[in-house]
């Protein structure tokens, strides 16, 4: 039972990161390899808000969330926008260097010491007993809640809102969408801001729950296996994929080798590439388009 709880918690974290990959990929066919570093940035933004301006949680958390979103928007406006028309691979490499720059900026500002934002906010993280001998930390529970809310809201947003519908149209038939006067630049900017917002949220939760260090970005790479297993262009696929990958990882930690668990998401990715490269719920034609 405890294992099931761990799986759901880890899957929630992966889902939060995974939707970011999907959002950016759907919009611009670019894989944002800086996602993990943007997540780390979110955690540090919370830490910075708590320490440097000594804000309480009620101010610091919204501030850090806004900062996360704004960073994504700025990255698009200043850097990624210029990559339009370049090969996709070049754009992906730019995101790699963005990741490096974010990491370096964080190290320069906060040093590479391990940080804990929660004490800085004067908050505690008491364990919650769920019965049947299962216990999770409060932030674990919050992570699950946040992931559920974010995925549900995003699904609704894409289905119902005007921008969401435009995003789907642009993802499906870019040329037709552009001819109908959809503003691609705005869509891309929104996608980037949303992706970095969800990544930042994941970073805040993870950072508060475990720790903050500049090397957190690796977690983002693992989550990216989730995005691919679910199908890079499918938001709904993220949830089952996150559960699957998290289950494999948690169960290998429990019954196998912890070192092996570290690479298990990548093995899931390889298996998926061989069996069903378009993912659990992705579209098959997608492979031809890249």
């Amino acid at each position: 039972m405890q294992a099931a709880a761990s799986i759901v918690v880890l899957a929630s974290l992966y889902a939060l990161l995974g939707v970011g990959y999907v959002l950016v990929y759907r919009a611009s066919r670019v894989l944002n390899l800086a996602q993990g570093d943007l997540m780390m940035f979110g955690g540090y933004a919370l830490f910075a808000a708590a320490t440097t301006i000594a804000a309480g949680p009620a101010v610091a958390i919204p501030l850090a969330l806004v900062a996360s979103g704004v960073v994504g928007f700025l990255l698009y406006a200043l850097l990624m926008r210029r990559m339009a028309g370049h090969p996709v691979f070049a754009a992906v490499l730019v995101t790699v260097s963005v990741g490096i720059l974010v990491r370096v900026a964080v190290v320069l500002a906060f040093t590479d010491q391990i940080r804990y934002p929660l004490p800085a906010l004067a908050l505690a993280n008491p364990p919650l007993r769920l019965g049947a001998g299962v216990a999770v930390s409060t932030i674990d529970a919050l992570t699950v809640l946040a992931a559920t809310l974010v995925v549900a809201t995003l699904l609704l947003f894409l289905r119902r809102s005007r921008i969401g519908m435009q995003m789907r149209a642009a993802g499906e038939r870019p040329l037709l969408a552009a001819q109908r006067g959809i503003d691609f630049q705005r869509l891309f900017a929104v996608s980037w801001a949303l992706a970095s917002f969800t990544a930042g949220l994941a970073g805040m939760l993870y950072g508060s729950n475990v720790r903050l260090e500049p090397g957190l970005g690796v977690l983002g790479l693992k989550a990216f296996a989730v995005a691919l297993v679910g199908g890079l262009d499918s938001l709904g696929g993220v949830v089952p994929a996150a559960l699957l990958v998290a289950a494999v990882e948690v169960l290998t930690v429990r019954y196998g080798d912890p070192l092996f668990a570290e690479v298990s998401p990548f093995l899931c990715l390889l298996a998926m590439l061989l069996l069903r490269p378009w993912g659990l719920a992705g579209t098959r034609e997608e492979l031809e388009r890249v």
């Binding site: 370096v104 590439l273 490269p277």
Partner: protein, 355 residues
């Protein structure tokens, strides 16, 4: 391109020549002479650095072969390198294998991995492929770490010096010559490929796969070939790396190594052999240059702390700047500068005359 320079290609032999003009011949001979004579005057540090550049150049050339020439994306370069280094380490540890066993074995492992990674490339394209190579990188590193943990080499595996028959490579100077020779052979092979059937098929694939296929190029075969060739070369570079450092450890092949090699081919100029060489030199020497600059500046001891992020960040920044502003890299910059000088005071080349 004709500027009326006086050097014309008047025969097919001339057109196929590896080194084109008399000026280039002179430059090449001069460069070779300087490099060969250098140990007589240069300090150990300089030789040490140039050896590193030569070794990095082999890796960069291999990546350029795959990404620059054949247009297949790989994010698993460090993984291939680790595979080569670990096949040396494991064989030395298990049966005290001599280099004439370990080096072919490393090449063989590289070929196998190249095939394994290349297989999905027949079905997948672009990004999906890059992801496969990235995943492969982590799996290879895991195998290395697992081996280290299981057999008690937590810090790493020690490798004896490289001895091929009577030839023993041990000192800095010996390594300098050995690596220089290896890099020269690798460069020759890569330049030669550009005029071979295989190299041209790769370039055609890179530029337009469908057109290449309809010209009768066996897409699947040539793609696999590109992966195998690049992986073999990279894996051998990793094996030589193991002998040079006399030490193998999984920590030395993190994802940032892949990024470093990507930075080399991008900063140098994707698809150009010269670019790979220049990029390898640039990326290898940049950290030392930053060290030198910081040491020369009047800053306190606190600066030491910022040195590592500064070096790492400069890679990131340069990579981004080159990708956005000059995708053809340093070679592209050089061509622009050359055109500017040749055309001065005009700005553009004359339009082609009507035929």
């Amino acid at each position: 391109m004709s500027w009326g320079s006086g050097a014309f290609r008047t025969s097919y032999e001339r057109d196929m020549a590896l080194v084109d003009t008399p000026l280039r011949w002179t430059a090449l001979v001069l460069l070779a002479a300087v490099l060969v004579a250098l140990p007589a005057v240069a300090s150990r540090l300089v030789l040490e650095l140039l050896s590193q550049v030569a070794l990095a150049a082999v890796g960069a050339l291999a990546l350029n072969l795959l990404t620059g020439m054949a247009g297949q994306i790989s994010l698993g370069h460090a993984g291939f390198m680790a595979a080569g280094a670990f096949s040396v380490g494991m064989l030395v540890e298990a049966i005290a294998a001599p280099p004439w066993v370990t080096l072919p074995a490393a090449a063989l492992v590289g070929a196998g991995l190249g095939l394994a990674v290349g297989m999905p490339s027949l079905r997948l394209r672009g990004l999906y492929l890059a992801l496969g190579t990235l995943a492969m990188h982590y799996v290879i590193l895991w195998i290395g770490t697992e081996y280290q943990a299981r057999y008690g080499f937590n810090t790493g595996v020690t490798v004896p010096p490289l001895a091929l028959g009577p030839l023993l490579v041990r000192t800095t100077r010996q390594w300098y010559y050995a690596l220089l020779a290896i890099a020269a052979v690798a460069t020759f092979l890569c330049v030669n490929l550009t005029r071979s059937r295989v190299g041209r098929a790769w370039m055609a694939l890179r530029d337009r796969e469908i057109a290449a296929a309809s010209l009768g190029i066996a897409v699947a075969r040539y793609k696999l070939m590109a992966f195998v060739a690049s992986a073999v070369m990279t894996s051998l570079a990793g094996a030589v790396w193991a002998y040079q450092r006399s030490f193998v450890s999984a920590e030395a092949f993190g994802f940032n190594v892949t990024i470093e090699y990507l930075a080399m081919v991008i900063i140098g100029g994707l698809g150009s052999v010269l670019g790979a060489l220049i990029g390898a030199a640039f990326v290898t020497l940049l950290p030392y240059a930053i060290d030198g600059v910081v040491a020369a500046l009047p800053v306190g001891d606190g600066a030491q702390y910022y040195l590592f992020p500064l070096k790492f960040g400069s890679f990131g920044l340069l990579m981004a700047l080159f990708l956005v502003f000059e995708p053809r890299g340093l070679v592209g910059l050089w061509e622009r500068a050359r055109n500017w000088i040749l055309l001065w005071p005009l700005r553009h080349r004359p339009l082609a005359p009507a035929r």
